[in-house]
């Protein structure tokens, strides 16, 4: 790796801006991810900012099973994000649909719709687990392309 490439990679790993999207979660995972912003967990330590616009974001954090209504939305948001982009599936629902089996309106997990780079299981995910997932993903970003 050249020096510049190394620097760029390092900067990417130090400045992950996230976008939170709820594809039908029960709220619990949402509030737990939101809790990461607050003093006890303070995800800004990693340089993370929560952005409102997909155009500004690097990491898409998705909670909830994908519902039919939100499927097209999540695909569109994913496409709006500039490369390089990563997706974190937070919560059992997002990793596999979890408890919502047999509900006619959900898909079995986020990876059936868009590529996913990190799975966090938990119902809901503990904020610490989100932090850990982020830092594992960032390490990966710094070292190799995920």
């Amino acid at each position: 790796m050249g020096l510049v490439a190394r620097l760029v990679r390092k900067c990417r790993a130090r400045s992950p801006w996230i976008l939170l999207f709820d594809t039908g979660a029960c709220n619990a995972c949402d509030i737990e991810v939101a809790a990461c912003l607050t003093p006890r967990y303070d995800v800004e330590r990693f340089g993370t900012l929560l952005r409102g616009s997909p155009r500004h974001a690097d990491i898409l954090v998705v909670t909830g099973p994908v519902t039919r209504q939100s499927r097209d939305r999540i695909i569109r948001i994913y496409e709006q994000m500039p490369e390089p982009k990563y997706v974190v599936a937070a919560g059992t629902c997002a990793t596999s649909g979890g408890v919502y089996w047999g509900c006619y309106n959900t898909y079995p997990g986020l990876d059936s719709v868009i590529p996913v780079h990190a799975y966090v299981s938990g119902c809901p995910v503990k904020p610490e687990a989100v932090l850990m997932a982020l830092s594992i993903l960032l390490e990966k970003i710094e070292k190799v392309e995920v």
Binding site: Y41, D42, T92, H117, A118, Y119, G122, L131, A133, I136
Partner: protein, 116 residues
């Protein structure tokens, strides 16, 4: 009484107080709040299991599958489906299942979360 910037005093006071943040990943691991009875990742004791299938039948998330091994029927758990409800542990007649304290069930590939 309206006082613009009423919060200033409190904010400044907190500047000199200890931060509320736990510098968690990798550091200050012991400060995490993990009480007794926390419902984390499933721990399964093969030697206790009698293969009664109760856990498989109650699981609300279909996270358990029964397979056959050399000693007979046993459950396997798909952690990526598990909702950490603890129902299987509650129903198991021999207490072969307990919920541990591992809460960081993270994987970059889904298969890594598959079978425990």
């Amino acid at each position: 009484m309206k006082v613009p910037g009423y919060f200033l005093a409190e904010a400044l006071r907190n500047l000199f107080k200890k931060r509320a943040t736990i510098l968690y990943p990798y550091r200050e691991v012991d400060k995490i709040h993990l009480p007794e009875g926390f419902r984390g990742k499933i721990e399964f004791d093969r030697s206790k299991c009698i293969g009664c299938q109760l856990c498989f039948r109650v699981c609300p998330a279909k996270a358990i599958k029964m397979i056959e091994d050399e000693k007979g029927k046993r459950p396997v758990f798909f952690i990526y489906r598990c909702i950490y409800c603890g129902q299987c542990a509650e129903v198991c007649p021999t207490k072969a299942i307990t919920l541990g304290k591992a809460f960081e069930n993270i994987a970059l590939r889904k298969e890594d979360l598959e079978v425990r």
